[in-house]
Symmetry: C2
Subunit: 253 residues, 2 copies
């Protein structure tokens, strides 16, 4: 007969709690509505605050909730689709891309970046910061690494401001013929600077999109873009068309 016990497993409290809250969110709350505070909620469910927080963290990770220190916990709108794979192979900064330059510096990149660019590990490259907005809020921060070799005619230019120099670098880049690109997506956590840009706390979950741009047989530029994982759904392909939304939704009045 064996000891084939079925479902004898004690479900963790926070997991059960998450399920209960999730269903309540679907049926009893509208987008934008404020939940009771954590201490009250914990008391109501008869658990310690830490346990309740474990459930809330999961729901926030899934994009169902939004929590802000000093304010409260609100029901999040469904994730917004953010186009990433506009398969129109194009250089960053090309007409109509969704990014806007923030600043530009020359710095020695992390070793992993240097390896991908096939530059020396002590060699400085142009480092352009850009940010991306969608529906009025920041959704992504990007670091663009561009070796000197990709923009050889730039040295003459001496742009007044940092953002103007960023634009110069990008404009110079367009002159190369783009031979292809290469993308990867992985989970990461926001570095302190990215977090500030994304209006999140450091360590917040982000989707890291790494793109390599090929030209002249080399990697001519490398982009590392970090998207807010809580609010974004990255879309690939021609799309931009119909959107998939999840679950029932009601608008706050």
């Amino acid at each position: 007969m064996g000891t084939t016990q079925l479902e004898t497993v004690p479900e963790p409290k926070y997991w059960h709690l998450k399920t209960v809250l999730s269903e309540a969110l679907d049926s009893e709350f509208a987008v934008g509505e404020i939940l009771p505070n954590e201490r009250d909620l914990a008391a109501r469910f008869g658990v310690a605050r830490a346990t309740l927080r474990q459930a809330l963290e999961q729901l926030e990770l899934e994009g169902r909730l939004q929590r802000r220190r000093g304010v409260g916990t609100t029901v999040a709108p469904p994730r917004m689709g953010v186009a990433v794979g506009t398969e129109s192979h194009a250089w960053p900064g090309a007409a109509g891309d969704a990014w806007q330059p923030v600043d530009c510096a020359e710095a020695v990149p992390p070793a992993a970046v240097a390896d991908a660019l096939e530059t020396g590990r002590d060699e400085a490259v142009h480092t352009v910061r850009r940010s991306r907005m969608s529906h009025g809020q920041p959704v992504a921060a990007e670091l663009l690494y561009i070796p000197e070799a990709s923009v050889p005619d730039l040295s003459a230019i001496d742009a007044p401001s940092s953002v103007a120099r960023a634009r110069s670098v990008l404009r110079e880049l367009q002159r190369l013929e783009l031979e292809g690109q290469d993308r990867a997506v992985e989970l990461g956590s926001a570095r302190a600077d990215d977090a500030k840009e994304l209006d999140r706390l450091p360590g917040a979950p982000v989707l890291v999109v790494t793109t390599r741009f090929f030209a002249e047989g080399r990697t001519a530029a490398l982009s590392v873009a970090t998207y807010r994982a809580d609010t974004c759904r990255l879309t690939f392909g021609a799309s931009g068309g119909v959107e998939i939304t999840h679950g029932p939704e009601r608008q706050a009045s």
Copy 2:
């Protein structure tokens, strides 16, 4: 002058801890090596175990560590690249795809899926489970939803086993002309069944890849694939070629 205080912010302990551990991982540990247990580590750094765990959780989220209950914490190998965007538009189950069918059933899908498929919310569809291995371990679990309308000639077939029926459905699907597809990636947490398949605990972070397959002017199939976020880096584009790795690496002897 204002109170422009610079860097007066006290960095959280777990954040600092994470940095320290991360550097130690780079310089003093080899892939596969076992770390001291959590109680010892906490004592060594003079913090509570919960605080140490917060740091470890972050590192695990970033794919630097791997923790298994009853075993210990080990240094994770760099994430493996998993090709997702083989831009060869092809039906699931086409020759050479990385998936293998597990079983097949007919069930009423979640409302969001029904909406995407434009089937009624009470209408049952073929639901094929598939799993994907890479380097000898499971990396993804998939649920494929296929409306009856997409495989009209299937009813005659009465396959003996569940997996055989899955293959029949996929084979039938190939007969349609694929007109395009549409992909989205977002962060999620593993449901209980997916978690088991992926050899993780429920709630583990996963990258959810949703693919819609278009044929005959409709959505002819919909795939929801959940990839282990800790071990996978999703790669798009023709690539499959050169791999980007991160940081210094050493092999355990």
